[in-house]
């Protein structure tokens, strides 16, 4: 599903974010990306949804070489994936329902499809009763649930989350992480870059550890701390 072959990324300002990274993520996997700030977690995620292109090496998604992807095909790659961020990225002047519907509308879905699908995903994230609330009327956890709903509304094959719980208290963070696990259980490949040590340790999923732009560990049922 996702494959990195000897990928390096050097930004225009000269910072090397990834050095010779190779990894493989299968369909249906749930993967944590861990490591200190600046280890390259975000860059790795950005390479998957083609916000960045690799400086060297190859990134494949579903067999597609993203380095070779034409600019006008990028939107269609993105429709295969959902992305969730630490800062939610919701439109402040639109309700929860409208924020989710917006993602469907701008990708060309009909009103009818939208009316059927949006309540479904709001139900999935447990916010059916707050459909008409503006982001400012929602708690942080609820806002992130709206963002998750938006990320999965178009049935993506991959869900990417970059520090999804970074702005949330531990209890709320658990709720979000459980939601991601549930989405994974329904068949979506999930990649989560995170600092949430206790959650990583408790869930016992695959952990890819990054440091200084290199992969320094990859364990099938890993924990946050580096095994000595």
């Amino acid at each position: 599903m996702i494959e990195f072959i000897n990928v390096s990324k050097v930004y225009a300002n000269g910072v090397t974010a990834l050095r010779d990274v190779s990894l493989h993520i299968d369909r249906g996997e749930f993967v944590f990306l861990v490591g200190p700030s600046g280890a390259g977690k975000s860059t790795l995620v950005r390479l998957i949804y083609r916000e960045e292109v690799p400086t060297r090496g190859i990134v494949l998604v579903d067999g597609l070489n993203l380095g070779r992807l034409r600019q006008r095909d990028v939107p269609f790659l993105r429709r295969q994936m959902g992305v969730v961020f630490q800062d939610f990225k919701l439109l402040p002047n639109r309700t929860a329902y409208e924020n989710v519907a917006f993602a469907m509308f701008v990708t060309g879905h009909t009103r009818r499809q939208i009316r059927r699908r949006v309540p479904e995903v709001l139900e999935l994230v447990g916010l059916a009763h707050k459909a008409d609330a503006l982001p400012s009327e929602l708690s942080g956890g609820e806002q992130q649930r709206v963002a998750v709903a938006r990320a999965v509304v178009n049935h993506p094959k991959i869900l990417l989350a970059d520090e999804p719980t970074g702005n949330l208290d531990p209890e709320t963070a658990w709720g979000i992480m459980e939601l991601l696990v549930e989405i994974n259980r329904r068949g979506t490949t999930v990649v989560v870059a995170t600092h949430a040590q206790s959650i990583v340790n408790a869930l016992r999923r695959r952990v890819i550890r990054l440091e200084g732009g290199r992969v320094i560990g990859d364990e099938p049922q890993g924990v946050y701390e580096r095994a000595i």
Partner: protein, 295 residues
Amino acid sequence: MRFDTLAYFLREALAGIRRNGFMSFASASTVFVSLAVLSLLLVVAANVRHLAEYVEAQVAVVAFMDPRTPRAEAAALQARIEQLPGVAGTRFVTREQALSELKQMFGDQADLLEGVEKENPLRDSIEVRLADPRYADQVVKTLNTAEGVADVKYRRDLADRIRRVGEAVRLGSAAVVALLGTATLFLIANTIRLTVYARRREIQIMKLVGATDWFIRWPLLIEGVLLGLAGAAAAAVLTWWGYERLMVEIAHSLPFVPVVPEQPLLTQVSQVLLLGGALLGALGSTISLRRHLRV
């Protein structure tokens, strides 16, 4: 394109115009000024061409007869000229006829000619229309050497002079239009940039969830085109109103000046203005999108 998508594009474009009210107004105003000058250029050019053609078509060569020449002799000369190559037609105009034509030209201001009427200063003349100006020299030479001709006027010079003036006017206003047009482009581009900035969150999310580049561009392009059309419409209205006023004024005080009638000129000029406005708007948006929208 689906209706609700189109409605969304229009709504966003209008929201953009409202959000940047002052800049939108400034943009539309510069479009208006540029196109008003363009419109002036078009109207003047059309009239200069009309005037030159009028002068040329009326009479190319006029031979004024010596007053002592008998009319029979003049008629013989007319017949001879008629046979020359390149002559489309001739007309013998008596001095009495010439005076009454002059009176007609002045219309309701014919009283200006009152003094002239008692002692007609005009002369008999032969008017020669040419099929082709290339034969003018031959005709002028023949007339000049003929008995009883006092003076030969070749009006082609006048038509040429009118054309030269017209050309100068056209070049000058074209330069002004180009200058104003460029300024307009950048003002529109700036206005659209403000919209891009105001909508940056939305645009970021659209890109993230896989909206196509054109889906993101359309509202911004439409916004530019609407600004252009608004300015163009104002310029068209001004042109329409101004030209009609001018027509009335000329018909009243300068009835002998040949002017291009309102239609189809005004319709054509308006079409050019609207097209120009839409183009300016689209181009301004495009400049902005290329610079500020990485899609």
